[in-house]
Structure formats: structure tokens, C-alpha cells
Amino acid sequence: MYAGRGTIRTEMATLIYLDNAATTRPHPSVVDAMAYALTEAFGNPSSLHGVGIAAERVVTAAREAVAASLGVAPAEIVFTSGGTEANNLAVVGAARAARGPAPSEATRRRHLVVSAIEHASVRTPARELTADGFEVTELPVDAEGRISAADLAGALRPETAVVSIMAVNNEIGTVQPLQDLAGVMRAHRAAGGRAVLHVDAVQAWGKIPLQPARLGIDLLSISGHKVHGPKGIGALYVRRGVRLAALQRGGDQEHALRPGTENVPGIAGLGAAARLILADGHAAAAEVAGLVHRLRDQLRRIDDIRVNTPQTGAAPHILNVSFPGARGETLLHRLEMDGIYVSTGSACHAHRPEPSHVLVAIGRSPDEAMSSLRFSLSRFTTEAEIEAAASAVAAAVADLRALAR
């Protein structure tokens, strides 16, 4: 009976959740940390009394865990409402800080550099900054979705304010050569440039090693719910000394960069997720990579497919594959009948197919783009699930291709 709660098919024997790039199942330790923050440490961290102090301790401990997971100082972590807000604060905040106060026109820096495959939470604010007089250079990507250091070097100008590059692409999993790109940024600074480097690491945190301080990354965004933490919480690493303009006004929480009473339960959950990464993130990622490798091998047995995720230099948890002749959205629902949950590469509306901008950027045809599925795994994924999913995909693709004929 319809009750407004949606239709998760709970009667299904299996639930193979392979949509972890969309969101993940919260880890029990995350749930525990949040329950504590909601029931015991429910105070306002700014309050002077003991209940407030208990909440402040939760926030402090979480900040330390998040900072440790990135190898940075706790004071460099600003909690936000998630990856989108962190990206907005980085791009818009750094751009506004660089624009500087009038009147000195000469010191104004109004140029941004982003890649062609950034998430909407970077692309859209960057585009809107053009209304404030900013110019945006979009870096192209190669057939694997990678930006070249040479292209970045060519795009930088003395007046460039912000460079924003994602560490791991959310659709195809390509890892950007951050080391090379950071090298270009160092050369830019040596030549007198003052652009800050922002890295959207929402899909990268806990999946690949991130050392923002060592690479010279100035700003880096992370999100809780992609790593078994809760939704509605994220953070921005702000390297000491980097100037940002706050996007909202209020109290002085989070260095006044993010005023408002702290989301203590969310922060507690984010801290627990960071501790998971610290404890065994590397091992878990390696295990997931093995499973993705296995899935790739299994799917290769299906005729006429195209793997959109590069063989090397990809995140451990994402595999994007096109199945020409079958529509991604129908495939998704067909797999749902078998209790397997995945994502399409491209959103599809009734008479208005919208191929993914990422798949288009790496040169896929519309048919390839519209027939793509994204499998994204987590530390909870098992080998048996991968075997079951691979054979279900083979059957579904055969079924739908037969119908399409």
C-alpha cells in the first residue's frame, strides 16, 4: 500500500547495492557516534556550560580525525553542509577574495580555470561568476577523462584567481594527475602568479591517498555520505593563509567562514567516517579495487560493450560501462527486479535524452552515452555480489538487446 515512503522492494531476497558513488550505507560506528551526539552531547558547542562543552568535544574530536585523514592541521578544516557547499565556498569564496576591494583595477584577478568534467557544484558557480566579470577557461580532457599539465600551464594567467580540478571523476572514476597539476601551480607561483588550487575530492576521500599539504593544494572538498558517513555534512580543507570570502553571514563558527550552530550529529558522523578511513581505508580501497577488476573482467564477456573507466589511473570503486543497444535507464530498472541497484551514466527524460557531459567530453557517441551504467562499490560489497551482478547484467543486456531489435 502506498504510504509515501517510496518503494524499496523489501520483499526481495537480495539487495546488491552498487550505487555507492551516489551515496553509501552509514557504517554502524557512524550511527553510534551520531546517536551519542543526538542523545547525550546535544548541547550547543558555543554554550558555556557542561552540555555545550560535551558537544564541543564531539566537534573537536571529529575535526582532529578529519584533519588526520588528510594529513593537515585541525584548524584548517571547515565543516560545511556537504560537498556542494564546500565546492561553492571554495570556488566562489576564493574568487571573491581574489577580486579584492576596489579601486585598484590592476590588482583585480578575474580569471578561473575548471575542467570540462567538473561536478555541477563547481561548474554552475563558476559559470555564474561570469556575471561578476570573471572569465572561465574550461580545460579539455583526453579520451580517458584526464586533464594534461600542459593544458593547465597554457591556461594560467597572471590574473588567474582560482583553479578547480576534481581528484576523481564521479561518473567514470578517472583520477587526475594531481601531482603534475600541482607542479604546474608551483611554477605559476614561482613566476609571481597567485592562483589558488581547489580540488574537489568528494569521490576521492578514503579511496586514493590525498596529501593536500604536501602537494600544495590550497582548498579541498570532502563529503560524509560518500564514505559511510551521514548526508548533510562535509568539509573544506583551507590551507593556512588562504583567503576566502564567506558566503553567509552570522556568528564566528568555523572561523566565520561557515557561521551557524554546528551540525553536531553530522560532524560526529563525519568524524567516525574519517576514523574508518584512518583505520583501514587503504586496505578497504585495495579490496574494492580487486572487486572492480573482477567485475570488469566478467562484463568484458558481454559482446559489444565499451568500458568508460580507464584501465589504469582510476578510482578503486567506480566502473562505468556502455551497453550499446540497451537503454541505460531500462537496464537499471531491469536489474532492480533482480535486487541489484546501480546508476545510469546519463539522465534520460521522456523525449529529451540528455547524454552525460562527461561521457560526451571523452568522445562517446550518443548511443554509447545513453546506454551506460555506473557500478560503484563499497567496503560492504562482496565477491558473491559481484558474481551475481555480473551474470544478471549479462542476462539483462541480452534480454533488452533482443527486444530492441
Binding site: A3, G4, T7, T330, H333, L335, E336, M337, C348, A350
Partner: protein
């Protein structure tokens, strides 16, 4: 406590069965409000009076959706004698002034349905006007286009009101037999179902669900659209018909240009079977002439031939812009505009046949077991009761 005076138009013209229509309307009005608080509804002197123990602002939107109501007014009730009526008139003027402080001019309009009341109407009106001016000296009386019109309706009791709200018109739900509306999730079908329901039909809805070719969200659209309709009809049954097997069979056995026509014919056949089970006497569709390939008069003929029931097509002469405008008024627009494709928009051939003959259609489905498929789909249809009240999440 709030009281409303309800006017009905067309029903007054009914002959011998007027009593049945009025009693149905009275009960529908009562059912539309009685969850708000203790309520009663009576009919007298060509009006229905409903009283509810609730705020007028809560009651008004409910009555506005009862089919058969032409217009209605929140009223203050007074005993039919001068002092009580005067008090009521001054109070009504006072609350109108509170709601609209910019009012400068007014008029009092008196009608005596009960001629036993002594004063001639005109005298009563001028006396009441003088009372209003004594209490609110800044108001001026004006006969033409006053800012405030206070109506006094003297019957067995006196009813005083300052504004009138339009109802949806039509005939009371439950006075016109049963019909089954085909509810796709698009813009047209809910508007068509609404128009048919407004003529007093008891409407049930059928939604053809083709998972995995369509998403669960397409079904949710149909549920939400039916909830809007339920706000008018008091509730309705939604039948979700599994259509996947028919989609597959058509995809496999029917030539591409004819698939849409054959799918439509299969919907008609299935709806026909379901309608028989529900004792429904007609089908309702959102077809509008010439809108898409399957809505040419030739296509409609071929589709119509798959059922023996009359197919009501209230939108047949409407333009898309008119349908959209009506959908916006009814609040179905936002739901229909959600991007999830319903089963009509998938498998749409590149070049559909626009003028198929009946023989062609029959020929195209020669390889399908049409009767078995329709019987099977109708047998597996699942009923959901959609109530007027908002579902509680959980």
C-alpha cells in the same frame, strides 16, 4: 463554528429526481468537511446550509472542490428579527473591514425568501446601511460597484455574508454512474478524468505499469494525480495494471510503425475487462484530436474498435495550451511535469503510422494472443484506495 450557504445551479432544473441529486450533494458537502470537526448540513429554500466546528479558512477550500456547488458564501446566521439581523450585519461589515482595511464604500442587499418577515426589503436595507455608518462613520454607501457588498438573505433564519466564492459546478459525485479513466501520468488524462468526474460520474482510474521499462516513479505520478482528483471526488480507486508482458509481446510481434496503435488497443481491451469487473459503463481518455500520431481520427477509430464501451474523451477539441492551463488550475501540472516517462513515451517508433485502417491494426496484431493478454493483465491489476486526506508518511 463556521457556516456556509451553498448555491447549486443545474440541479435546480432537475425534475422528479431532484431530491436524489440534492441529497447526494448534501452528503458530499458533509463528507468533504466532517473530518475538520462536528458538522451538519441541511437543505432548505433552494440552498444547502453547512455548519462545521472549524475555522472558515479550513472549510472554504474543501467546499470549493465539491462537484455540484456553483457558489457559496461564509455566512453569519441570525434569528429573523430586526435586532439580531442588525447585529449580524454590523459584525459582518466589521470582519470585512478587518480583512480589507481599504474598504471605503458599501451597499446592503436584502432578499426576503420568507415574506412573513414584516419590513419591505428596501426599507430594511437602508435601515441596516444606517446602522453600518453609525458604527463605521468613515464608510460611504454606494449603489454601484461598492467595495463591500453585504448580502442579507432572510429565510427561516437570516444569513448575512460579505463575499461569494465560486465552486466547481457540475453535478454531485455519485449521481452519474461509474466510469474507468485511463491515467497515464501525463497532462491530459487527469484533466479528462476531472472533467468527466465533474458530471457526477463515480470515477476509478487505471494506470498501466511497465516496470522495468518505466520507473516506479511513473506509478507514483499516477498515485499523486489520483490524490488530486480524490480532493474533488472524496476518494477513488486506482487500479495499477501490470503491462510489461504486453509491452514485450508487442515489441516482439508487432511491426514498428504499428506498435503504438496496438499498445493502445491492448490498453482498451484490458480496460474493457477491468471495467466489466468494476461495473463501469464507460472509459475516459485524455485524447485530443490530432495531438499525436495515435490521436488522428483514423487512429482513434482503430483504437476505439478494441472496446465495446463508450469512450468519453472530454478533451477531444481542446488545444494543448488549454489543457496545460486547466492542469495548472487543478494543481495536476507540477505532478504531470515530473520527468519520468510513462509507458506511452517509451518504444515510440521513429515513424509511427498515423492513418492506420482497422484492417491494418487487426493484421498487425495477428501474432498476439490479444484476449489472453488482456484478461491476464486485468486479472493481475492491483487496487489502491486513494483518499482525499493526505497520506501519513510512515
Amino acid at each position: 463554528m463556521s457556516t456556509f450557504l451553498i448555491r447549486y445551479g443545474e440541479i435546480a432544473l432537475k425534475g422528479a429526481n431532484q431530491g436524489f441529486f440534492l441529497e447526494t450533494l448534501r452528503r458530499n458537502v458533509l463528507a468533504a468537511v466532517d473530518d475538520l470537526g462536528p458538522a451538519q448540513a441541511t437543505q432548505a429554500f433552494g440552498r444547502i446550509i453547512v455548519s462545521v466546528d472549524a475555522e472558515p479558512d479550513a472549510v472554504e477550500p474543501r467546499i470549493r472542490k465539491v462537484f455540484g456547488v456553483v457558489s457559496f458564501s461564509p455566512v453569519r446566521v441570525a434569528a429573523p428579527e430586526p435586532v439580531a439581523i442588525t447585529d449580524a450585519v454590523v459584525a459582518v461589515a466589521g470582519s470585512a473591514l478587518q480583512a480589507h482595511p481599504s474598504i471605503e464604500t458599501f451597499k446592503v442587499d436584502v432578499r426576503r425568501a420568507d415574506k412573513r418577515y414584516p419590513d419591505p426589503s428596501m426599507d430594511t436595507a437602508s435601515r441596516l446601511g444606517a446602522e453600518i455608518r453609525r458604527t463605521y462613520p468613515h464608510l460611504r454607501a454606494r449603489m454601484k460597484q461598492p467595495d463591500l457588498l453585504v448580502r442579507v438573505d432572510i429565510r427561516a433564519q437570516a444569513f448575512v455574508s460579505s463575499h461569494t466564492v465560486a465552486g466547481p459546478g457540475g453535478l454531485p459525485t455519485g449521481t452519474g454512474g461509474r466510469a474507468l479513466a485511463l491515467m497515464s501520468g501525463g497532462f491530459d488524462s487527469p484533466v479528462a478524468a476531472w472533467l468527466a468526474a465533474r458530471r457526477g460520474l463515480t470515477v476509478a482510474a487505471a494506470h498501466f505499469h511497465s516496470f522495468p521499462f518505466t520507473s516506479e516513479r511513473a506509478r507514483e505520478k499516477a498515485v499523486d494525480l489520483c490524490r488530486v482528483l480524490a480532493g474533488f471526488t472524496g476518494g477513488l480507486d486506482l487500479w495499477v495494471v501490470p503491462f510489461t508482458e504486453i509491452q514485450r509481446a508487442v515489441q516482439q510481434h508487432v511491426a514498428e510503425p504499428m506498435r503504438v496503435i496496438v499498445l493502445r488497443r491492448m490498453m482498451m481491451r484490458t480496460a474493457d475487462v477491468l471495467a466489466a469487473r468494476l461495473h463501469a459503463h464507460a472509459l475516459i481518455t485524455g485524447e485530443s484530436l490530432g495531438q499525436v500520431a495515435s490521436q488522428t481520427v483514423e487512429s482513434i477509430a482503430a483504437i476505439n474498435a478494441a472496446t465495446t464501451l463508450p469512450v468519453l474523451r472530454p478533451l477531444i477539441g481542446w488545444d494543448k495550451t488549454e489543457i496545460i492551463a486547466k492542469a495548472q488550475v487543478l494543481d495536476t501540472y507540477e505532478i504531470s511535469a515530473r520527468p519520468y516517462p510513462d509507458c506511452c513515451s517509451l518504444f515510440v517508433p521513429a515513424h509511427p503510422r498515423t492513418q492506420p485502417s482497422l484492417a491494418e491494426a487487426a493484421d498487425a496484431e495477428a501474432d498476439l494472443h490479444v484476449t489472453e493478454l488482456a484478461l491476464d493483465a486485468a486479472a493481475r491489476a492491483e487496487k489502491t484506495r486513494i483518499d482525499r486526506t493526505v497520506a501519513v508518511v510512515g
